[in-house]
Amino acid sequence: MKNTLLLCALATHALGSQPVLVRVTPETLAKLQARDPMIRLVKPAQNEAKVARPLNQSIIKQSTILHDGKNWTLVPNGAVVFLPEALKSRVNVRPVGTLLPWSEFLTKNPSWITTTEVSFDQAAGNETLPAERTEFWAKQDKIVVAVHQTGPISVRVAAASPTLTKR
């Protein structure tokens, strides 16, 4: 009981010793707002500064959706470089279920997805992919996703590789 009273007394003293400030008024706030440091900087003339702001962007709309019935993930458009007819139903469906990062989705679905490592120049369409590799895809019943250092990457169509999916 004595300790409680002591603590109360200390708390009262501590609270009482602080200065009490008055709540800010709209007038005072307006004066603070008027001191805008950007006023000192040079402003662009109307339509002079051309910038591109993010507007209505969507990574889902800009991607290819892969779905296994329970989980889904997305890869850049153009990353699916081989799509067997039998697996078309697993691509670009409405995303439902659990969203997984690409690497987890790939780990769960090795039976129908495989990857092919591509260089940046191959992705850019400056180099064609080796013909033997693209021919081998057709022998597997798997979707082939192009990756660069394990990350899915879009592949532009190079002239000599007709099996690639067009972007």
Binding site: V20, P37, V51, P54, T150
Partner: protein
């Protein structure tokens, strides 16, 4: 095509910690040829880009997708290139807490912008010698505590200006410019974006961005007693209306003897702590006042809130008097024996 094989640190785009229910992606878009690559990244930290940068530069976008709704949000983006200026924005406030910079509408904050790679001298085109700083304001709707970052910076800016020098530019704002019907109750976010000036070769021009969350000033009311009341018997039960209490604040109803509340000690009648990271509003009952006043006199009640900005009154103080002493007005009459017949 000349390529630059450089290791690009994307520290400026920090992958937000993987929040349950959300999955994050960092997508790199090569502006010159349109190649897109999803960077494999850990939930936090930095990662080098494995792609070469071509002359057009690369756009890095940090996305998060809400699992349940499959709704995507562009959290941040940054345009990087060998021949583009680079920028970094840091917002500093007086509030050391919160996951993002946080301030109150009447409090100062600082925006520090670091620019590199601008060409200095005369005769250079504007795109090579300047970047554009934009200030975007976005108000919260009722109950809202965050804005979609991409939408917040997609509209017409509140103000914009050129920055034409490399190095640090520090802007000290004395208060937020967010507005509301009661300006002290404005809340929302201020976003600052540095854009490269477009020559038409890039799809996005954002070099850096930063933002600060702005919270309203708390207010309150003491109900059940009014200034100048003269109380004789039991003191009334009070009701405290507390609005927009600041995160990590402590609010007190204090009782002072006399009419002064500054420089004197007050007794705590009631306390209300806010431990969370969002503003809180509530109504609390106070029945302790009667037992705390044992002597007649004049008293003042003050409703104050302790925040990182100091102790502030939430409303006008209430001064009242208590007089419980019973005065009996009577005339004394002596009955002596002499008067008895």
């Amino acid at each position: 095509m000349k390529t630059i094989l450089s290791i690009l640190l994307v520290g400026a785009i920090h992958a937000a910690a993987q929040t349950p229910g959300y999955v994050n992606f960092i997508r790199q878009n090569q502006q010159g040829n349109g190649v897109e690559w999803d960077m494999p990244v850990a939930p936090t930290g930095t990662s080098p880009s494995a792609l070469a940068l071509d002359n057009g530069g690369a756009l890095f976008q940090l996305w998060t997708i809400e699992e349940t709704s499959a709704k995507d949000y562009l959290l941040d983006q940054k345009l990087v290139g060998a021949y583009l200026p680079a920028a970094d924005i840091k917002v500093t406030t007086l509030d050391p807490y919160g996951q993002t910079p946080r301030t109150r509408v009447d409090q100062p904050f600082t925006v520090a912008i670091n620019i590199t790679g601008l060409l200095t001298g005369t005769g250079f085109p504007l795109a090579a010698s300047s970047v554009l700083l934009e200030r975007h304001l976005g108000s919260y709707q009722s109950g809202q505590t965050t804005l979609d970052p991409a939408k917040a910076v997609s509209g017409t800016p509140f103000s914009s200006a050129y920055l034409s020098a490399n190095g640090n530019t520090v802007l000290k704002f004395e208060a937020s410019s967010l507005t509301a019907a009661d300006p002290t109750k404005a809340s929302g976010e201020e976003h600052f974006v540095v854009h490269a000036l477009s020559d038409g070769s890039v799809t996005q021009t954002q070099l850096a961005s930063g933002f600060v969350q702005v919270l309203p000033v708390a207010s309150g009311a003491i109900k059940g007693i009014t200034n100048g009341d003269q109380l004789r018997f039991q003191l009334p039960q009070l009701e405290l209306l507390l609005n927009d209490l600041y995160p990590r604040s402590d609010t007190y109803l204090l009782l002072f003897e006399g009419t002064q509340v500054t420089g004197v000690e007050g007794k705590t009648v009631k306390g209300f702590p806010v431990d969370g990271e969002t503003c809180q509003s509530t109504v609390i009952e106070v029945s302790e006042l009667d037992s705390m006043i044992t002597t007649d006199g004049t008293y003042t009640l003050a409703l104050v809130s302790d925040t990182i900005y100091g102790r502030e009154q939430l409303c006008e103080t209430v001064t009242f008097s208590v007089n419980r002493t019973l005065h009996v007005n009577a005339m004394q009459v002596n009955f002596s024996d002499e008067a008895t017949p």
